[in-house]
Amino acid sequence: MPPRRMNDDYMGGGSDSDVSMLDEDEHTSRGKAKGKGKAVEGRKGDKGKSKAKEQPYAWEASYTRSWDTVQEDEAGSIQTAVQDLIARGRRRRLLAPGEAVRRTIIRHLILVLDLSASMMDRDMRPTRFDLMLQYAREFIAEWFDQNPLGQIGMVGMRGGIGERIGEMSGNPQDVLRSISERHKLEPAGEPSLQNAIEMARSSMSHLPTNSSREITIIFGSLTTCDPGNIHDTLDECVKDKIRISMVALAAEMKICRELCVKTGGQFGVALNEGHFKDLLFELIPPPAQRAVARANGPGAANPAADLMMMGFPTRLPVTSHPSLCVCHGELKTEGFLCPRCLAKVCDVPTDCDICGLMIVSSPHLARSYHHLFPVKPYQPIATLDGTPNPSPTCHACSVPFQEKASQPNAPLADGVSPLGRYRCPDCKNDFCTECDVFIHDVLHCCPGCGK
């Protein structure tokens, strides 16, 4: 059965994102059905069972058998079908957010790492612990990329206590340095969720109300060894509006899910290495803010919102004349000039030591603007009948469009255009699949309308 084999290749050899496409379905069903199998076994078993057309497990019911949907084209090749599947998976991500939602931009996050003995399990390669460290580093780098005004602190769970690994900091280098020495983090003993959460909570207690407070826990154990009642801690977190999100590496525990659900966070159990990364990276984009102000009626001001005065500095080059900085009193050539009092500070973002003005570099702010002004989703074009003069090439990259539809009579499903054309609703230019994804995922700016 050639299509079947080809599809297995596609799944096995595909990138993480291809796998995740299928796993997401499986994962959402997991919320209701609590069958936890090891990821790889789960999928193998799934394939074996599907032949017999019986479904002994509830979680198999919603598992889409992607190989059934693959159709050969006229030439007997499934190349087009596979490409179609890939395009569909990429588009799916784009379909969700079209409108501007209110997101939290100044974020404070405590990343809690499980450093208990169970992290030495080898069910994820090389060990859960090494994988966690590696993904935590990538997570931090990407997190600061998307949340340039945010801060991260690190807490470890080891030997029944919470350990502060890294102080809250807005500098990615500082945070990465705190977990760079592997031997200092060697897993041992039991984890304690309560101790770690209490420690994280206390280190965020001083923060202003207009910033978000979050705890992200990577949890590899099936037990927690707490000094008191963890439900009290949970209630305190709800009261303090701390969001707890958790990625479990072993299995779902009632208390873990409860922690996440009650505080408005996300909970997920990693099936395999790729899925672990996907779950963790889902926590990177700024979360949509819950509408607090609406409850007080439309006239009431949101107490969390405020107007802040900020200054955008001028950066001095290395070649300028050395002068004393106001923050350390050291003789330096490089630095930033406060726009109000012209004092020289070493680094931004900071508060000017002389006049107290908050100095930020404007690119820091601008990094989050694409959340405010998202590009409108492009319309997939099914036929060219309505267009008098269709452009022969993609408006952005000038690659010629395909002449005929890949699957001529396929219905317009999942927002995938059979012609590979996507049209901007504003400037009416056509773009190819490649550019459509790039524009919405990375560029956040339509080349046709220049917005």
Binding site: F312, R367, Y369, S398, C435, G450
Partner: protein, 360 residues
């Protein structure tokens, strides 16, 4: 030597600015045709450096943007002038294709279009899309490109040749393009020939590790191009390419598109305003009246005698805005004269806005 590099060139073809640049009253006038001959020599040099080097040229025209040339573009044999004993044929093909497309685009400009703002953002974003297609994009879908050595396509960069001043309305799209360039590890070089300092392009070059060069002698531009922009970014550390002196991190405000150095920022969405506003225009957040009063009172160089406990924010803003902007800006940035004028006029226009949101 090393890997092949891709060069995307964004060429500003604003007829008005080129006309101004060619005025004999300038210390060093340069016409578009002289400049293009320099540019073609530079592009030929880029192609000659390595066989696999690729090129894409995008033109920013008033109100729109177009691709003028790319290495992958199909060559129309009939249009090429007969071979010339003095020139290498591939260069000849490329030069005539570029010149033909530029002539076509400029011919196509109508009288009304020449006044429209330049389509610089479009050209820059197209250059980014093209690089995305050449480097990562092509590898993931089409099987033909997968066979190519991915390492051979690395090291992309963009050279922006600018003659127009900044348009503050394009602040957000330009910044978005800069961040995507950072993500794709694209270096943006800026060659400013005419039209004053560009705050946004300075930031673009700084953030992507490129160089921003404001050319003193536009009539000798080939020298600058060859010495500073020909070596790929990998070689830049070895050759001392000129660096920027001051980098201006100012931003454009959302309300009037002024370029500001001290702004008022909404804590929810980080929108920048040039004066305290009662309601954020982006996310519709209402700000506490106390903050408005405090900020109005503490505005930089607030006019003496402005009561701190002003009855309404409007009262405080009216005298403060036109009076304060002038001395402050001049002290920081003496050459930023246009900013003062616009700030002043905005300040005068502001009271109605405040009245609407006033505490009544």
């Amino acid at each position: 030597m090393d890997k092949a590099s891709h060069l995307g060139v964004v060429l500003d073809l604003s007829p008005k600015q080129w006309h101004l640049a060619a005025q004999p009253s300038n210390p060093h006038p340069v016409t578009l045709s002289v400049f293009l001959s320099h540019l073609l020599a530079f592009l030929n040099a880029h192609i000659a450096c390595k066989d696999e080097n690729s090129l894409a040229l995008f033109g920013a025209l008033p109100g729109r943007s177009a691709m003028l040339y790319s290495s992958t573009m199909p060559v129309n044999e009939e249009e090429i002038e007969p071979a010339d004993a003095n020139s290498y044929r591939p260069f000849k093909v490329m030069d005539s294709a570029i010149m033909k497309h530029i002539a076509e685009e400029i011919e196509a400009l109508g009288e009304a279009e020449t006044e429209e703002p330049i389509g610089f953002v479009g050209a820059l974003t197209k250059a980014m899309c093209y690089i995305n297609r050449v480097t990562n994009g092509a590898g993931s879908t089409s099987s033909a490109a997968r066979n190519d050595d991915p390492a051979g396509l690395a090291d992309p960069r963009i050279l922006v040749i600018s003659v127009s001043p900044d348009q503050s309305s394009s602040y957000i799209p330009v910044m978005n393009s800069i961040f995507s360039a950072q993500k794709l590890k694209v270096t943006i070089d800026v060659c400013k020939i005419f039209g004053g300092e560009s705050v946004f392009l300075q930031q673009a070059a700084h953030l992507t590790g490129g160089s921003y060069i404001d050319i003193d002698r536009p009539d000798a531009v080939l020298q600058y191009l060859m010495m500073s922009f020909l070596p790929p970014p990998g070689l830049r550390q070895l050759m001392s390419v000129p660096t920027q002196d001051k980098i201006d991190f100012r931003a454009a405000c959302f309300c009037h598109k002024n370029i500001v150095d001290i702004g008022f920022v909404c804590s929810v969405c980080l929108s920048i305003f040039c004066q305290p506003v009662p309601v954020c225009s982006t996310c519709r957040t209402k700000f506490p009246i106390k903050t408005l009063q405090r900020l109005n009172a503490s505005r930089p160089n607030a006019a003496p005698g402005t009561p701190a406990r002003a009855a309404t924010p409007a009262r405080a803003a009216t005298p403060a805005a036109p009076a304060n902007s002038l001395p402050r800006s001049t002290s920081i940035n003496p050459h930023a004269v246009p900013r003062n004028a616009s700030n002043g006029s905005i300040g005068a226009a502001s009271p109605p806005m405040h009245m609407n949101g006033g505490p009544r």
